[in-house]
């Protein structure tokens, strides 16, 4: 007797598909699909970050583009300094640029985490609509700053001439870069799964379900949420770092409010609060863009219609529709 839930089966199928498609594409000599699958993977990772705050913690952040973009710029800026042999700063001590992915990821996560700490300290004092508008506004602030600060390309963005390196792997080969991204995505999902079941995860989910209850048992929702917001931003920041390396380019559009909306769409299309929701959501999004984008340049019009229909009629997203409501043990 098989004892796996529908959701587990669905998650397994999604993972195998995501892993299988690029290899199948290579076999039939269509390398373009490898890049497409890498995009799905990286967008899914950004969604996993947001889903942690939004799905588990109920924090409707409309500003996650800030962390996605900061992660990207961290990579772009450090790599450009390394390629130009120009230290990032020389006094009081010297900081060199780098082209090592692992270091760049660490920096991207620290930068996004710090930004989330500051934004969270202000925005988590409020809730509901205020929180949505404030996260949006802070993200917009960083966006305008990136546009008007000329040192790193301003409005034009910043190219990364050579994809950054990973020990023992030629990252320029698309399938290798896909596997790196895929590995990071799986680790992130695993991390979220562990956090979800921990004491911290219990408190975070309680904060979403009933804030007064959490306070009444002596746990302060503010700090739980702040920590969750920072973790969430770090994951999304890591996705931004990978996205920068995928495109070998960072631009202010990574920071734009449209990106925040799209990350949210990944989460919703897949199913809010579901571990693999963002994977399903990002895959649906890219698939939609690929199919309808080939038919009409106005595919976003139809995306809008579909999204509207999902919100009005198919709450729960893909995973919620197939696997039913979330059950806690």
């Amino acid at each position: 007797m098989l004892n796996y839930s529908r959701e587990t089966i669905l998650n397994t199928v999604l993972t195998l598909l995501l892993l299988g498609i690029p290899f199948a594409a290579l076999a039939i000599d269509e390398p373009f699909y490898v890049t497409l699958a890498t995009r799905v993977t990286i967008f899914a990772l950004a969604g996993v970050g947001l889903n942690f705050a939004l799905g588990l913690g109920g924090l409707i952040s409309f500003g996650h583009a800030a962390f996605f973009g900061l992660g990207g710029y961290a990579v772009g800026i450090l790599a450009s300094h390394a390629l130009n042999y120009e230290p990032l700063m020389s006094s009081p001590f010297e900081i060199e640029g780098t082209t090592q992915m692992v270091i760049l990821w660490g920096v991207a996560m620290i930068v996004s985490g710090l930004a989330a700490l500051i934004i969270g300290l202000f925005s988590l004092r409020t809730s509901g609509v205020y929180f949505i508008m404030i996260t949006l506004a802070f993200a917009q602030m960083i966006y305008y700053f990136a546009i008007s600060w000329p040192a790193y390309g301003g409005e034009d963005g910043l190219p990364i001439y050579v994809r950054n390196g990973f020990p023992g792997v030629n990252t320029l080969v698309p399938i290798n870069f896909f596997m790196i991204s895929f590995g990071v995505l799986m680790l992130a999902i695993l991390l979220v799964a562990v956090l979800r079941n921990s004491r911290f995860g219990a408190a975070l989910q309680a904060a979403r379900q009933n804030e007064d209850r959490l306070s009444a048992v002596g746990i302060k929702p503010f700090y739980i949420r702040l920590a969750a917001f920072v973790i969430s931003a770090m994951i999304t920041g890591l996705a931004g770092a990978l996205f920068a390396d995928l495109n070998r380019f960072v631009s202010p559009s990574m920071l734009s409010w449209h990106t925040s909306g799209e990350i949210m769409v990944f989460v919703i299309l897949g199913g809010v609060g579901r571990l693999f929701g963002p994977v399903a959501g990002a895959a649906l999004f890219i698939l939609f863009e690929f199919i309808f984008g080939g038919l009409t340049e106005h595919w976003m019009f139809f995306l809008g219609l579909v999204l509207l229909a999902v919100v009005l009629f198919a709450r729960g997203g893909l995973i919620g529709t197939i696997a039913g409501k979330v059950r806690y043990d």
């Binding site: 562990v194 956090l195 079941n197 921990s198 004491r199 911290f200 995860g201 219990a202 408190a203 989910q205 309680a206 379900q209 009933n210 007064d212 209850r213 959490l214 306070s215 009444a216 048992v217 002596g218 746990i219 302060k220 929702p221 700090y223 739980i224 920590a227 979330v326 059950r327 806690y328 043990d329």
Partner: protein, 256 residues
Amino acid sequence: MTDYSGGGDAPVLEIRNLYKSFGALKATDDVSLTLMPGEIHALIGPNGAGKSTLIRQICGEFEPDHGSVHFLGNDLKNSGVADRAQLGLGRTFQISSLALEFSALRNVMLAVQSTSGSSFKFFKPVMKDQPLVDAAMSFLGKVEMQSRANVPAAELSHGERRKLEMAIALALKPKAFVLDEPMAGMGPEGSKALTGFLSDLRHQAPILLVEHDMDAVFALADRISVLVYGQIIASGTVDEIRGNSVVRTAYLGEDA
């Protein structure tokens, strides 16, 4: 060292000259009261007398305009709801307030995790934390809810939710209970059982009991305070309150 463990004469909870207004409405008007070790102090009064407002100031949801709340000798002025719970103020809500998607067990576990160790533990799964689960189970057992442990709070009956509220309050191992209408909607059988339960509970920690069910109040209370229009108009033993003509006209609705 002041003795709070029972039998001592220092109040566990002491409210001094509390005032709270909403616009022109004086919801709390110079209220002072104490909760002594080992006692049940009942707070009664007609609807709209300001009982809930008072409870919310005691528990830290509202800040009083003037006056102070002392708990175990600490001034609670700068303590929030969570701080007060950590200090040992265990409260139940007038209308059940639970994490509805969580099972009964996980609701209680939340309280246990708050009193034992930190909530900033990120890796160990709570359901595999046997001491945590066992402790929560034992508190559910005290309200005879063990068989319902895995049912989501949203699917529990009204009476079961009230019991779950009580189990959560017990799990906080409080130094004082603040119970906001625990009998509400319990039915005669449930009220009777709860009365017996509370009667024993006072030996664990004193109880400030807001209640409409007069039979329960007269059966349980060591002292009664009567709140009308934000003011305490009388305070005393059961017999004193029963015999007080002011209370009878103002609240019990009888002709003096």
